[in-house]
């Protein structure tokens, strides 16, 4: 555990990642401090997902240094004890929700706290119900994921991740698979979370949301951090030509 609020919770140094011949992340340097909300933007295929998936070891990297919540994550996925520990402290929300379809809503949420944290069923249930209320899902605890709307599923997925009481939350395009009318309810839940001080790394195409909640916006182009800064300066006054052309494309849509 790393409780020193000034110590970065994520520390990437010259991180490099290849998929075969494809050099996907190039010398990424990135530090994230507790409480910070970082939004990652960039074109399709630029490496946004790969970047945040390295943080919880869903992708392995080959070169550089990566420290998460005070533990070293080794290159080449050399699975060390740290990996498991990091994953219990880092939650993730996926574009496709990835709820467990064979488990009810409440079972989705209680599984990891019981099996990983060793909580009693009663404790896990209490937490689950509290979180469901918090993300605005009531009276659906015993339904199965397929019986919920996309927006509800994603909010359950958020509750599932929060049940592990993570110190850092990763979001990979959490609203991209949703019908437009459901995007708001998921963003609202995330906004709440940001307000409560959760450290968050969010890949999204929702620029309005990014501008509103981000402490820092990072623009990635072809595996490199081209530009980063506070949302106002990055959105209103981008320094790099690539950032300008990317923003002009997404903001006119």
């Amino acid at each position: 555990m790393n409780d020193d609020a000034t110590q970065p919770i994520v520390r990437m140094q010259a991180l490099n990642k290849h998929f075969g011949d494809l050099h996907v992340l190039k010398d990424i340097d990135l530090e994230i401090v507790p409480g910070e909300v970082v939004v990652v933007i960039g074109a399709s295929g630029s490496g946004k997902s790969t970047l945040i998936r390295c943080i919880n070891g869903l992708e392995e990297y080959q070169l550089g240094k990566l420290e998460v919540d005070g533990s070293q994550l080794l290159p080449f996925g050399k699975s060390n004890r740290a990996l498991q520990r990091i994953r219990t402290e880092v939650g993730m929300v996926f574009q496709q929700f990835n709820l467990f379809p064979h488990l009810s809503v409440v079972e989705n949420i209680t599984l990891a706290p019981m099996k990983v944290r060793g909580w009693s069923r009663a404790d896990a249930l209490e937490t689950a119900n509290r979180l469901l209320e918090r993300v605005g899902i009531t009276d659906q605890a015993h339904k199965y994921p397929a019986q919920l709307s996309g927006g509800q599923q994603q909010r359950v997925a958020l509750a599932r991740a929060l049940a592990m009481e993570p110190r850092l939350m990763l979001f990979d395009e959490p609203t991209s698979a949703l019908d437009p009318e459901m995007i708001g309810e998921v963003l609202d839940a995330m906004r709440e979370l940001a307000k409560e001080g959760m450290t968050m790394v969010i890949v999204t195409h929702e620029m309005g949301f990014a501008r509103e909640v981000a402490d820092r916006v990072i623009f990635i182009h072809q595996g490199e951090i081209t530009e980063q800064g506070e949302p106002e300066s990055l959105f209103d006054n981008p320094q790099h030509e690539r950032t300008q052309s990317f923003l002009s494309r997404v903001l006119t849509h």
Binding site: Q96, P101, H102, A112, V116, R160
Partner: protein, 223 residues
């Protein structure tokens, strides 16, 4: 020309008591073999998708050998061939069960592999991201979903294996076909007796189909 041919219903029904003793043998060989085959299938199916190459290839060889050779040859090999190797005879029932076990095991390996591989990558990733170990992810998330998808092809394999036992009359186990042959040798009513034999297989396989469909429906009720 006059058609002299006639189906003798009395002979057909009369054969039933002589055929029924074959039913328990057919069921014993089928389900005994399938039960063992199920465990073989899980074992080799999981080896087949292991990240370690030296665990994968024995499973590949096993599947290729037993899927690529006829079950009739397999049972003849076990019943007549293996005793020469072992120096002691194998009884026909054991040989029949063993043949169904190794043969269905090969197909079930593929069913298990396909079932596990059909589960979306995101399920495993979500599990790992929650801190579950790889084995916990498999046990609580991947396998229960994979097993549900395996039920229809497993049922299919069960039906195939039940029918395969009819070939084992060649090694003299007293299963359904064998009982029919013995009875026909004294009555010469091949048409009626084989008709009844076929009917009995249908009753067995239909029953299994219905049970499986209920199991499937119950499994899906949760989703």
């Amino acid at each position: 020309m006059e058609i002299t041919f006639q189906f003798d219903w009395a002979a057909a029904f009369g054969s039933i008591p002589h055929l029924l003793p074959g039913v328990p043998w057919t069921l014993l060989i089928s389900f005994g073999g399938l039960a063992i085959g199920f465990f073989i299938g899980i074992l080799f199916g999981l080896l087949r998708i292991s990240p370690l190459r030296w665990l994968r290839w024995p499973a590949i060889v096993y599947v290729e050998v037993f899927r690529g050779t006829p079950i009739l040859v397999q049972v003849l090999f076990i019943f007549y061939g293996l005793p020469q190797l072992l120096g002691s005879p194998i009884n026909a029932l054991t040989a029949g069960i063993a043949a169904i076990a190794v043969n269905s095991g090969a197909y079930i390996s593929e069913i298990v592999r396909g079932g596990v591989q059909s589960i979306e990558r995101g399920q495993r990733e979500a599990s790992l991201s929650l801190g579950l170990s790889r084995s916990q992810a498999f046990r609580y998330v991947i396998w229960p979903q994979a097993f549900r998808r395996m039920i229809p092809p497993l049922g299919n394999q069960g039906i195939i294996s039940i029918k395969d036992t009819s070939l084992f009359s060649v090694i003299g186990v007293g299963e359904l076909v064998r009982q029919g042959q013995i009875y026909i040798a004294t009555t010469f009513t091949a048409l009626e007796v084989y008709f009844m034999v076929a009917l009995m297989y249908l009753v067995i396989t239909w029953t299994l189909s219905i049970l499986l469909r209920q199991l499937e429906r119950r499994g899906l009720a949760g989703q």
